[in-house]
């Protein structure tokens, strides 16, 4: 690991000031992605700004038709929250399926969405539920937040504070996990709400994406059968050592049907 300076700010304003003063600084949340990256010398920040000293950034609030989750809330906290399990069980299940218990004890929702790994689980939940990402300076709609592979709409020095999920009528998530890491080879989040049906896919393409043909079919009939004939084009999907694009396209259909079944059971 390259050397860096370490700061643990006690306020959001202090964190912002540190980021502004050090253009090569990086935020540290759970560290479950950033620290392995530093160990492999794939990043060399001048400074780490640890968000661990800002308890206001962690916590769950359920009310006013939404579930609000603070950026520093760990995957384990979301998975075990009685409130999230009651209001949005699909999101609790998504969090429970991330990595392993030790990863879930440290990894955070803010770190996961800011990192925007193409195979991460939370992006599917954020886009599938049409959530809003609240930062230190603005609110960003889910559809505008993920802009590419490991890319988001976040500006330099911008800090995610919270994610606000509208509570749907029904929702489900299903993924085909990589057997070693549990990252999604393909994962599909489906939600039915007053505004319509949303289908968001992670793991299969360079970044999370929606499937309008499935959304239309599920709006007409919210059943697994309704999407059985919808084919996903493999052209834009990923091929790597885990799966070909054609196999991923097939998996998207299978996972979408399982997600709908799970939504109907919840």
């Amino acid at each position: 690991m390259y050397a860096f300076d370490y700061h643990k700010p006690r306020s959001l304003a202090e964190a912002t000031a540190l980021l502004n003063a050090n253009p090569e600084a990086r935020l540290l949340a759970g560290g479950m992605t950033l620290i392995p990256t530093l160990k492999q010398r794939l990043a060399s920040p001048s400074d780490l700004v640890d968000l661990g000293g800002l308890p206001d950034l962690a916590g769950i609030f359920v009310g006013d038709g939404e579930v609000r989750i603070g950026a520093m809330t760990t995957h384990a906290t979301v998975a075990h929250s009685a409130e999230v399990r009651a209001a949005l069980p699909a999101l609790a299940a998504l969090a429970e399926g991330i990595g392993d218990p030790q990863v879930r004890h440290r990894g955070t929702i803010g770190g996961s969405i800011s990192n925007a790994d193409p195979a991460a689980d939370y992006p599917a939940g954020v886009v599938g539920l049409g959530a809003t990402v609240v930062t230190d300076r603005r609110e960003i709609a889910a559809d505008n937040f993920f802009t590419g592979m490991f890319e988001t709409a976040l500006e330099p020095g911008e800090i995610v504070r919270q994610v606000r999920f509208p509570i749907p009528e029904a929702a489900g998530y299903a993924k085909f996990p990589n057997p070693a890491s549990r990252y999604a080879v393909a994962g599909v989040f489906v939600a039915r709400a007053a505004g319509g049906v949303r289908v968001a896919v992670t793991g299969a393409g360079p970044s999370v994406f929606r499937v309008p043909e499935m959304e239309a079919a599920l709006t007409a009939s919210f059943t697994p059968e309704a999407i059985a004939s919808v084919l996903v084009d493999a052209d834009d999907l990923n091929t790597d050592l885990h799966a070909t694009a054609a196999y991923r396209a097939h998996l998207v259909g299978v996972m979408a049907a399982r997600a709908v079944t799970s939504a109907l059971e919840s």
Binding site: F4, L28, M32, H105, R106
Partner: protein, 159 residues
């Protein structure tokens, strides 16, 4: 010039205060600064779990944390669990059920299992296997590890 940072935390019940470079991993601090070599390093990818310790009672991978991140908290390692004369019930269960062969994964397995058993006194084999997702063993084939964790959890509930 990188400044060192002073960290203060407890390790196995003893207060520790030290000036560390920010890049020092918790596992490096435990092994090389404190000589607590029971915590192992088995991978570079945060996947094997040989390095699992408890931070305020919850299992974490000490290879994927900076020592400075443990400031103000309580760290427990395998050395803090039991002694050769008086094994912790989970250690005794691994011994009795032949839950190890080479033993490299064992400290991490036991630290992970103790965290699990605290919240689940009578787990099913399936629950044990789900929980051990983050602990890799290259010898045993897991069968006896699962049996050990089941027995250890029951013994902990009685202790």
């Amino acid at each position: 010039m990188i400044d060192t940072v002073t960290v203060m935390f407890s390790v196995n019940g003893n207060d520790v205060s030290a000036a560390v470079e920010p890049r020092t991993l918790l596992v490096t601090f435990l092994r090389e600064h404190l000589g607590l070599t029971g915590t192992h390093i088995g991978c570079d990818t945060s996947q094997c779990g040989a390095c699992v310790v408890h931070l305020d009672g919850r299992s974490v991978k000490s290879c994927t944390m900076l020592a400075v991140q443990a400031d103000g908290q309580a760290v427990t390692t395998i050395e803090g669990l039991g002694t050769p004369e008086k094994l912790h019930p989970m250690q005794a269960a691994f011994n009795e059920n032949h839950g190890l062969q080479c033993g490299f994964c064992t400290p991490g397995m036991i630290m992970s299992a103790v965290d699990f058993a605290q919240g689940n006194p009578s787990p099913t084999p399936h629950e044990v296997r789900e929980w051990l997702e983050g602990n890799i063993c290259r010898c045993t084939g897991y069968h006896n590890i699962v049996a050990s964790v089941e027995a250890g959890a029951r013994a902990m509930a009685k202790a």
